[in-house]
């Protein structure tokens, strides 16, 4: 028989070896030589924490009691893993994108970063895991007690359990809470677990090989022994086969420790592809020899031996002490690795979902985060680890370690499986809401507790026999073992069926009946569309957040160096020097994810929410986003309007330019015209002056020539007078002598001055002319004279006639001068008011062509208008004068 002292000694050496491996792995990882630790092989081996002491010892016991039914515990995970493409890949992708730290974080994050949901899942995980930890402690003490049989030793079983729990707590605290960012991954722990995975596989294979080829006579003999054994026939009930397979698959996905190694510690998605075949292979090897060991144990060990311990007792009975020692270490590995990872996963959940909400609330509103949050989180994590192991130890003490291993494991599985509907709904169904999730989880938890957890302690411990027999408040249909009066089901199947069914129903109904918050909607889209890469929905908007405050907070949570690194990288990306980037929405989102890696999504969101108060997504924010769109549209409209304005201005400029060009041409024309007009009389004056100087000139001609010179001089003077007059009028420098005058008087004077009576017949409408107007009578007379003279000059008909018609409208007084001549060509109508413009022969007119130009200027100065009136069968001019 192996001495207990040697066993303890070897165990301690093994534990020291594990510490050494973990230390070395941490060191290598710190030095950047940890690349090979992130290989698919290590990943697959770390998944083996699924195989706990329950698997190692309990599977054989399970098989000895119920035959092949034990396989369901492995078949479920096998199906999940070969179906990795559907669920696991999505989980890993989401966890990577959202920096998920635990399964509680996953649900909390999915349902609007709800602290309540995170807390509830954490509580469920703790309740579901505690019996499991107790189970591991029990297996260690039971296995040691096998060796202690017959010897007197100071170590009692409770002592062993206590020391084991304490040792595990130390290991977990040292390697599990060394750093805060879960995404840095626990290389030491993972490495130690990988080593333990190999040890337990080798141990079980070694025992199996020994049993098949050492104790029995090879595979053929074993098959014969199976046929001869009490479990020779296929006795598995349909309900249990389906129920347990489903339960193990669900637990595999939802167990906090499995989520930790499978999703959180996953460094590359492609590792899943390898694990999809390698881990089922591992499970196959682990279960390959279970039936042979059970059958041979039942065959050769004395009746009444505990089948849970066949793995140890078979080698011991054959005096194979070395093999027994290896088997013990295998079982020890199974137990410790499970406890370590479970404690890490649970402590992360507690420190992220239970402590911070309480802590933040205790500090009150508006508390700026002071002190080192890192230390708070780390301390809370360490205390959680101690607390979890204490709970496990207490459960072990209270339950007395009596129940068969398998049944405790199944209770745990069923409790954890309550998370499954909500988790699957969360990653596949966009309509799932927080209310639905809470309803489902609470419903599942209550039904599971009532039908499975509470009765598991036995009658009269937590619930009375009366209740078990007659149901709650004496209602038969509420009996914990026969809900709704359905009897005859296996207790486990009964509990799983009802808890999962009611859970799913409450989840779906709650989701359909409730409405998600804006943040929930945003997160739902993020989760459902995990495989559509693209910009994430905006979670933060540029607020009044100060980058310096953010930095000081981030330093306390993720560490100074890492925080500074992050900030500087972002600042550089924004093109800024130094450590303080602009608090853009993108930056806040990055930061939130960084913080979420340390303290969980809900806490990170709450912390940033406190810093950037009111910046979290609310309906107002969404409206602001809409506003922004509206602003952009408005801006674009403004641009369009401005562009239109520019076009108009450009057109105006072009018009102005055209006008200037025209004016310039006009000016040139005017200059050449005036030169010509001046030159003609000057030429005749010079010519006749020369003639006058001729001594041979006949005396009679001299006065004639002198008169010509005088006429020409007068013409010149008149021209110059007109020009001067025009210039004064055009410049608006004319001084008008406005007074009331009778239009009739003015017309009379003009008619008289023009001396037109003998050349043209003038017809006037006397009745209408009695109008008194405020004007400059002399100037107006000048205009009228000019128009009458024009009619005299140009009206070339046998009986010329000029009609002068006065009209009065409310706004103006019009005076029309209409003759019965040929009128003005249409082509010349526009030109006649221009200087030097003459519609007909130059010489005949006898003027310089400035008359109408002067008229126009005078009328304009008087505030009126003069224009040519077409269509009157003769030349027609209309003068329109404003009324007073």
């Amino acid at each position: 028989m192996l001495s207990l002292d040697l066993l303890i000694f070897v165990s301690l050496i093994y534990v020291a070896f594990l510490f050494g491996v973990a230390f070395w792995a941490e060191r290598a990882s710190d030095a950047g030589r940890g690349g090979w630790m992130r290989t698919p092989l290590i990943y697959t081996l770390s998944l083996s924490i699924y195989c706990t002491a329950w698997t190692f010892y309990g599977a054989v016991g399970f098989a000895a009691r119920s035959g092949l039914e034990f396989l369901t515990i492995y078949l479920g995970p096998t199906v999940v893993l070969i179906g990795w493409w559907l669920i696991l890949r999505r989980l890993v992708r989401i966890a990577r994108a959202e920096r998920i730290t635990s399964i509680a974080d996953l649900l909390s994050s999915r349902f609007g970063k709800s602290a309540l949901l995170g807390g509830l899942v954490t509580v469920m995980a703790v309740v579901g895991t505690t019996p499991y930890i107790a189970l591991q402690l029990q297996s260690v003490t039971t296995s040691i007690s096998v060796f202690a049989m017959g010897t007197q030793n100071i170590l009692s079983s409770t002592n062993i359990a206590l020391w084991t729990a304490a040792g595990l707590a130390v290991f977990t605290i040292v390697f599990g809470t060394r750093n805060l960012d879960v995404n840095e991954r626990h290389s030491g722990v993972v490495m130690a677990i990988a080593v333990e995975a190999i040890v337990k596989l080798l141990a079980l294979l070694a025992v199996g090989v020994f049993v098949v080829w050492g104790l029995a006579g090879g595979p053929g003999d074993v098959l014969a022994r199976i046929d001869a054994s009490p479990i020779s026939q296929w006795e598995v009930s349909t309900g249990r086969w389906i129920g347990l397979t489903f339960l193990s698959a669900a637990a595999f996905l939802c167990l906090p420790r499995m989520f930790q190694v499978m999703v959180v510690e996953n460094s590359e998605e492609s590792h899943l592809a390898t694990a999809s075949w390698a881990f089922p292979l591992y499970l196959l090897l682990m279960s390959l020899f279970v039936i042979p060991i059970a059958v041979v144990g039942l065959d050769i060990l004395p009746a009444g031996s505990n089948p849970d311990l066949f793995v140890l007792t078979l080698p011991l009975s054959a005096e194979q002490n070395g093999l027994a020692m290896l088997a013990f270490l295998g079982g020890f590995s199974s137990a410790t690795s499970m406890v370590i990872v479970a404690a890490i996963a649970l402590s992360t959940m507690i420190s992220n979902h239970i402590v911070p909400p309480i802590w933040l609330r205790a500090r009150g509103q508006g508390a700026t985060i002071s002190g080192d949050v890192r230390s708070v989180v780390l301390i809370s994590r360490r205390i959680s680890i101690i607390g979890i192991l204490t709970l496990g130890y207490l459960y072990y003490r209270i339950s007395g370690g009596g129940a068969a291993l398998a049944s405790i494991g199944l209770i745990s599985f069923a409790g954890i499986a309550q998370i499954l509907p909500v988790m699957l709904g969360g990653i596949f169904w966009q309509g799932a809401t927080k209310i639905g999730a809470l309803a489902g989880l609470i419903c599942g938890l209550v039904v599971w507790s009532y039908t499975m957890f509470l009765p598991s302690f036995g009658p009269e411990v937590l619930i009375s026999q009366e209740l078990i027999d007659h149901g709650l408040w004496g209602m038969q249909w509420l009996r914990p073992t026969a809900l709704f009066g359905i009897q005859g089901l296996d207790p486990v199947v009964h509990a799983v069926l009802w808890s999962i069914l009611l859970n799913s129903f409450a989840f779906v109904a709650g989701s359909i009946l409730s409405r998600p918050s804006p943040l929930e909607r945003v997160q739902a889209v993020q989760f459902i569309s995990a495989f559509d890469s693209g910009p994430s929905a905006r979670g933060w908007q540029r607020g009044a957040t100060d980058a310096e405050d953010l930095l000081s907070m981030a330093q306390r949570i993720i560490g100074a160096a890492q925080a500074q690194n992050l900030f500087r990288t972002v600042a550089q990306r924004q093109g800024k020097q130094g450590y303080l980037p602009d608090p853009t929405p993108q930056f806040l989102e990055t930061l939130e994810r960084g913080l979420a890696g340390s303290v969980g999504a809900a806490t990170a969101h709450a912390m940033l929410g406190q810093m950037a108060r009111g910046s979290s997504v609310t309906v107002e924010d969404l409206m602001a986003v809409a506003d922004e769109t509206a602003q952009i549209m408005e801006y674009s409209n403004q641009l369009e309007a401005k562009s239109g304005e520019l076009t108009t201005t450009a057109r105006k400029l072009r018009d102005a330019n055209d006008k200037l060009t025209k004016l310039s041409i006009q000016k040139d024309a005017f200059l050449s015209q005036i030169s010509h007009e001046l030159r003609t009389p000057m030429t005749s004056i010079r010519a006749f002056s020369e003639i006058l100087q001729d001594p041979d000139l006949a005396e009679g001609d001299r006065p004639k020539y002198a008169r010509i010179i005088e006429d020409e001089t007068q013409r010149l003077t008149r021209l110059l007078d007109d020009l001067l007059d025009l210039s004064v009028l055009e410049n608006g420098q004319v001084s008008l002598e406005l007074r009331q005058a009778s239009l009739r008087d003015i017309l009379d004077r003009a008619q008289a001055s023009a001396n037109a009576g003998q050349h043209i017949k003038i017809r006037r409408s006397a009745g209408l002319e009695d109008i008194s107007i405020l004007t400059d009578p002399d100037r107006l007379t000048q205009v009228f004279i000019n128009l009458i003279s024009n009619a005299v000059k140009y009206c070339e008909v046998p009986q010329p006639e000029l009609r002068i018609i006065v009209n009065e409208t409310p706004a103006a007084i019009t005076v029309d001068f209409i003759d019965n001549g040929a009128g003005v060509d249409k082509a010349n109508q526009d030109m006649i008011f221009e200087k030097f413009a003459r519609a007909s022969d130059h010489t005949k007119a006898g003027g310089a062509g400035l008359g109408l130009a002067i008229c126009r200027e005078i009328i304009i100065n008087l505030g009126g208008q003069i224009f040519y009136l077409p269509g009157q069968r003769g030349a027609a001019f209309r003068i329109s004068l404003p009324r007073d």
Binding site: L75, I82, G83, W85, V236, T238, W241, W277, L284
Partner: protein
Amino acid sequence: MIGKRDQTIKRAANAARGQRVTDSALILPCVGMILFLLPIMWLRSSEVAPAAGIATSTALIYLFVVWAILICCALGLALLIKRFGVGRS
């Protein structure tokens, strides 16, 4: 131009193959589940004459063979998925 067209055809063929691989990856767990659940249709010895029931040894061999086949299929699929780079963005 021809080279470009060849490339396009090759890419289309690869995409089609990748689609077949991912479809298989979705179907494999269903096949596994059905094969693992087939035993519920086996007769139990208690219901009929003991000799008519399925022996544990037979069931054991059936389950382990199915398991091994599934593992091989998963291995093949994992290799194909890596080769075609499916699912990588």
